[in-house]
Symmetry: C2
Subunit: 263 residues, 2 copies
């Protein structure tokens, strides 16, 4: 299994603290030695980093831990390979353009090979993972149903949830997805989230001896949600998503959610 990390915030926020915890799991406290990647949205632009080397050894990961890139939406992934070789084209997060927006995607889990029989639309995978195939299928479905960006996202959110449910029928499908403003979080087995807002307190990482006092780092209006495969801190109350549940975060707050469609 891989590890996912996402962030949604109402002000540009750095993810150094959470990323520091995550990267320990990439060959340090965790077994996920098969590369890692991270995408930071700044407006509609995306800054992304991919490295097939373990995050705990990576020069680039060290840069990101030390150099605060501030962003509204972040998607990160560290990989323990199951389907697909360990190389750059198989390293999450994956991205494709739709409606003049860069969509970014990361997946944790494994899907039945029947996935590869699902017909693709306009998007083709570059690598050989089940994850990238699922992303290409999903985005092709969205493109076919919504040829242009809808004004109201409710119908789109509902459609994305129903597509995720189809993918869950093929196995374990935990997903983070964004187009720059909305962060889609879908759970099959493991995904937890935590919102930090005033009054801010101190948080301590589980995987590394490090604490931060967010009171000193924030303003009273800041709202920041962090989503991770497993809770990253030991002294905060994380909520776990249920199987088949999707929550869409906008500006740090949940803006839409739906439970599993009855199986």
């Amino acid at each position: 299994m891989c590890e996912l990390l996402g962030m949604s915030a109402n002000v540009p926020t750095d993810i150094c603290f959470s990323f520091c915890g995550l990267m320990q799991r990439g060959g340090g406290t965790g077994p996920h030695r098969d590369g890692w990647g991270i995408a930071f949205y700044e407006g509609k632009g995306v800054r992304s980093f991919h490295d097939p080397a373990p995050s705990v050894d990576s020069e680039i990961a060290r840069l990101i831990k030390d150099y605060p890139i501030k962003s509204h939406v972040v998607i990160s992934h560290i990989r323990q390979a199951n389907v697909g070789a360990v190389n750059l084209e198989n390293t999450h997060p994956f991205s494709r353009e739709l409606w003049g927006y860069i969509w970014t995607f990361a997946h944790n889990g494994q899907l039945d090979p029947a996935l590869f029989d699902m017909p693709l639309g306009e998007y083709r995978p570059v690598g050989t993972t089940d994850s990238e195939y699922a992303f290409c299928w999903l985005l092709g479905q969205i493109r076919e149903r919504f040829p242009t960006r809808p004004d109201d996202f409710a119908e789109l959110n509902s459609f994305i949830h129903s597509c995720c449910e189809q993918l869950r029928a093929l196995g374990v499908y935990n997903m983070l997805l964004s187009e720059s403003t909305h962060l889609y979080c879908y759970c099959t087995t493991k995904l937890s989230w935590l919102t930090r807002r005033a009054p801010f307190g101190e948080a301590s990482l589980k995987d590394y001896e490090m604490a931060v006092d967010f009171y000193k780092e924030t303003t009273p209006k800041d709202v920041v949600t962090v989503i991770a495969t497993d809770p990253l801190t030991e002294n905060e109350d994380w909520s776990a998503l249920k199987t088949g549940e999707m929550i869409v975060f906008v500006d740090g707050d949940p803006s839409w959610s739906r439970s599993a469609i009855a199986d």
Copy 2:
């Protein structure tokens, strides 16, 4: 005007030396203070870095200068903005997927606003530059004419050249483009190239006090071509492309070229 830098090599090669020269032009010896970006192909995978900050000040640029990422094909760009604000989504190189390959594009020059009347196919710009619009138009043309990857690239190369000629009719269009194996270099005003092969010698940068003895860094079979807006070294023989000329490099060697179609 911006500065382009490209590389094509028959073995994975780092670009630290040339990049060190280029980044000086980003606010150091040159006026190109409006961001920079670089894409490294490793197989079909791409590792890319984008920063709207000047390259000479950039932490990320320093990392790339010091940390040798080895690649067969590299495309880099430092920007002096003319069309489009200075922000991440307007920072070259741009990329889109076609046929399961990530195409990467960088442009130097400026095109007439009539460009924005040219109908787009499947690809939409994320930012507001003439460059990204031209790329979306070009890739849409390629996709329409070649729905699947051709076995023989001669017809494709010729088609890309004719599209570049259409863009040149709108102004200054110097371009670097790749899909991982082929590096397309098209010139309107300024683009020079240099192939290094055995016997290797020493090269000295023009923009920075630095020399490298490639004899010590290479094997006798290595072939490495560097393409840049202006020659980066002062003691080597660079060749300038002519107006309307395109050269396609594969594994460090020119594999196809064509002169301007008679105007």
